[in-house]
């Protein structure tokens, strides 16, 4: 009998859940109706009218990277406070955020992108990961919705060249090209490229290798696994090849170990370089001492935080609002929202085609620097990539270890 009662309660609960969701369906349908009403009144601009527009935030609050997802959402919400209300042609526009979670999963991402289109957003900030973005891009493209990601760094994210995709973080490939160019500037004729089998490192090494090969530099490719504790096999291969330079595209723990074992094998003279994955203060200890670390080179994608013009102010605001350190890519997402609003203002319209066109011509002063977006793919730069004033792929910030600390190599 008790079980019977629980069952009844359960049935009621489920019925309530169902009723609630039906309400959800009708509720959304009603929203759409209201929106079209709003758009029709949009034509006749009466002074002091308030118009609500929707901007989507496609992020991953559940799944494998909730900390990144939350930081992205925080960044956008901070930007909403600063730019969320603006005037255009005598009308006050108020932005309403539509925050949806894609679990960093491609299938869910497609549904989220379609939901954004159904909701009638004028633009989307996101998504968070390259994998999820891949399946969202065609849907935003078909529905003509501009999409700005603040954290997708995968070189192949926009392989299809959709004109609706933009990003305010750096494409990994740019550093790959920068490393190749720098190695050649340093006079390297034989170069070893080594990655840690991760997507980030492999992408970087691929581009660096292509850059070097195009100029006739002889290369050797090696790899290790993240977490490896012995690289003597690779060091033996490197020694046999006899390179002028070694480019390691992974992260500092393996980079330090590689450098240490290379020095032990008598290759202290070989130039050692890497991407921003090795530009960590911990690297020096990981190479086994200051002497080993001396002269290691590293590039960085975009300006590092201490050189970003608006970073200090942003970090203070972020700290005040959320009571924690700035999360990964939060400032890039803040800039993405700011740039979208700026594009709407410059377009003078909330029509998405106009916004896409405005984004392509945009120059925006953001936290991470003054930037625009690449209109065409060129070398390592893909269509829609961030183009920061004063920085080209061959000219990204360069660093070197001097007396145990990273200093600018300029």
């Amino acid at each position: 009998m008790v079980q019977e009662r629980i069952r009844k309660a359960l049935a009621l609960m489920l019925a309530a859940a169902l009723a609630l969701s039906m309400f959800g369906l009708t509720g959304c349908a009603a929203d759409d109706g209201g929106e079209t009403d709003g758009e029709t009144t949009d034509g006749e601009t009466t002074g002091g009218e308030v118009q609500t527009i929707k901007i989507g935030v496609q992020t991953a609050l559940t799944g494998p990277l909730p900390d990144y997802g939350l930081a992205a959402k925080n960044g956008v919400e901070l930007a909403l406070e600063d730019f969320g209300t603006f005037e255009m042609d005598g009308t006050t526009y108020e932005v309403e955020l539509v925050v949806l979670d894609d679990k960093a999963e491609p299938t869910e991402s497609a549904v989220v992108a379609q939901t954004m289109a159904d909701e009638g957003v004028v633009g989307v900030i996101g998504s968070l990961t390259t994998g999820a973005t891949l399946s969202a891009i065609p849907i935003y493209f078909e529905n003509r919705i501009p999409q700005i990601s603040g954290s997708v760094t995968g070189p192949k994210a926009n392989e299809t060249g959709a004109d609706t995709f933009f990003r305010t973080c750096w494409n990994d490939a740019v550093q790959g090209e920068a490393l190749g160019v720098w190695a050649m500037e340093l006079g390297a004729k034989k170069v070893v490229l080594m990655d840690d089998n991760g997507a980030y490192a492999v992408g970087l090494a691929d581009v660096a290798e292509a850059t070097l090969k195009a100029e006739g530099v002889e290369t050797l490719r090696q790899n290790c696994q993240s977490g490896d504790k012995d690289l003597s096999a690779q060091v033996a291969n490197i020694k046999e090849f006899g390179p002028d330079a070694v480019i390691f595209t992974g992260y500092h723990p393996e980079a330090g170990l590689l450098r240490k074992q290379m020095v032990e094998a008598g290759m202290a003279d070989v130039i050692f370089m890497g991407g921003d994955g090795i530009r960590s203060a911990e690297l020096v200890a990981q190479t086994g001492g200051e002497a080993n670390a001396e002269g290691i080179y590293a590039t960085f994608g975009g300006f590092p935080e201490e050189q970003q013009p608006g970073y200090a102010a942003f970090a203070a605001k972020y700290q005040e609002k959320y009571g924690e350190e700035v999360g990964p890519y939060a400032q890039n997402n803040y800039d993405a929202f700011g740039a979208l609003i700026e594009a709407i203002k410059q377009a003078g319209s909330t029509d998405t085609e106009d916004i896409i066109a405005a984004l392509q011509d945009l120059t925006y002063e953001g936290v991470t620097g003054t930037f625009g977006f690449a209109t065409e793919a060129a070398g390592a730069v893909a269509k829609g990539d961030i183009v920061v004033e004063g920085l080209t792929p061959a000219n990204v910030p360069r660093y070197v270890v001097k007396d145990g600390v990273w200093v600018s190599a300029e």
Binding site: L100, V111, Q114, P138, A199
Partner: protein, 384 residues
């Protein structure tokens, strides 16, 4: 509990409804279900339902195919497979390579689907060779490992699969001619490109497969599978070749997963390893178990319910305009737990599994007795 404890009045009303439902013939159920499924996109065209629901519908139907496939090994033959998504991956990647800019190959849709199915079947055959000696937990562990091996291979086999970057820009299906490039915007009636077109394509596949599998279930082969599931030794001694029957079951289910994978690759335009995680295998197992192991209508319903539930909760949260959306996976989990506790035999259980999970309702016993067995013998059998 049971019918004896309830009052006569309630029993009368309950049995009234149940009798009415039981009297509706099976073809009528199928007709109603197909009509609802086929009519669903019309609601979208009429503006009642949002397009996101069509996408949920397409993915749900693809998972219906997957669940129907897994049901063959798990429900009918009783072999637990925890790496089923690997066959799905074989189909997806085959399609991605045969119809994308990766190698600039543009095979027509029908050829790609057939090859994808065959590739998955070959994979199923190969994995069945060493594993069919195993039973129960051991088989589960081996299949789990197989799923992970396939996923890790995909991630590391960069020249073929692009590793973690995935294969992008898969061409939309054209039934006979070469595939068209993605993002070109060419429209013709025979190109399958929009969610609604995919929906009907997959729906037709589901209906055909459901009919085929229903017939198969009631055939000699299906009964051999059931016999193996219930008692392998008895089945063998009745003249069933266990290895052949099991292998057929594994290969067939792998083929269905490969076929579903091909449709999935076409539909999603891009394929990356994130779609083939262990969790996805678990979800398909849940669909089969919660729908009703061995029951084709049950498995179909289970897949649709589990796939659509997160979006349903999302919509409910959207109405409330709150951060409630983030909790949808939590609620999803709770609902699964609740279902397992209160309806272990599944939503629309198979006759045999229902008997195992619950005490037998006398009325049902009566019906079963009349339909299946000789009067005297049947009653003795079932009351034990």
């Amino acid at each position: 509990m049971g019918a004896t404890q309830t009052t006569p009045v309630r029993e009368a009303s309950r049995s009234g409804l149940q009798d009415v439902l039981a009297r509706v013939p099976r073809w009528a159920w199928w007709t109603i279900s197909i009509a609802i499924a086929a009519g669903f996109p019309l609601l979208n065209l009429a503006g009642v339902v949002e397009t996101a629901w069509l996408r949920v519908g397409v993915v749900s139907l693809i998972f219906v195919l997957l669940s129907l496939g897994l049901n063959i090994v798990m429900g009918e033959t009783g072999l637990l497979n925890l790496g089923y998504i690997a066959f799905f991956a074989f189909g997806s990647y085959t399609t991605a390579l045969l119809s994308s800019p990766k190698f600039e190959i543009r095979w027509p849709f029908l050829a790609v689907v057939v090859v994808s199915t065959l590739v998955a079947m070959v994979a199923g055959f190969l994995i069945s060779l060493p594993t069919l000696r195993l039973r129960g937990d051991y088989l589960a562990i081996v299949t789990l490992a197989f799923g992970e091996i396939v996923r890790l291979t995909i991630i590391n086999l960069v020249p073929l699969t692009n590793g973690p970057n995935g294969v992008t820009g898969i061409y939309s299906p054209r039934l006979f001619a070469d595939a068209k490039p993605a993002l070109e915007g060419v429209q013709a009636w025979f190109i399958i490109d929009k969610p609604i077109e995919y929906y009907y394509l997959v729906l037709v596949c589901v209906i055909v497969l459901a009919v085929l599998l229903t017939n198969l279930k009631n055939s000699r082969v299906g009964r051999a599978w059931n016999a193996l599931r219930e008692d392998e030794l008895a089945a063998i001694s009745s003249g069933i070749t266990a290895v052949r029957a099991k292998m057929l079951s594994v290969v067939l289910s792998a083929g269905i997963a490969g076929f579903a994978g091909a449709l999935f690759a076409y539909y999603s335009n891009v394929i990356s390893p994130e779609s083939f995680l262990f969790m996805q295998s678990v979800i398909v197992v849940c669909m089969v178990v919660l729908g009703g192991m061995g029951s084709i209508p049950g498995v179909i319903l289970g897949a649709i319910v589990l796939q659509a539930l997160p979006q349903l909760i999302r919509e409910a949260a959207g109405a409330a305009r709150s951060d409630f959306e983030v909790y949808r996976m939590l609620i999803y989990g709770i609902l699964i737990v609740v279902m397992v506790i209160f309806r272990p035999e599944g939503l629309l259980p198979d006759k045999i599994f229902r008997r195992e999970a619950h005490e037998v309702d006398p009325r049902e016993l009566e019906m079963t007795r009349q339909s299946l067995f000789d009067l005297e013998e049947g009653q003795k059998d079932l009351e034990v």
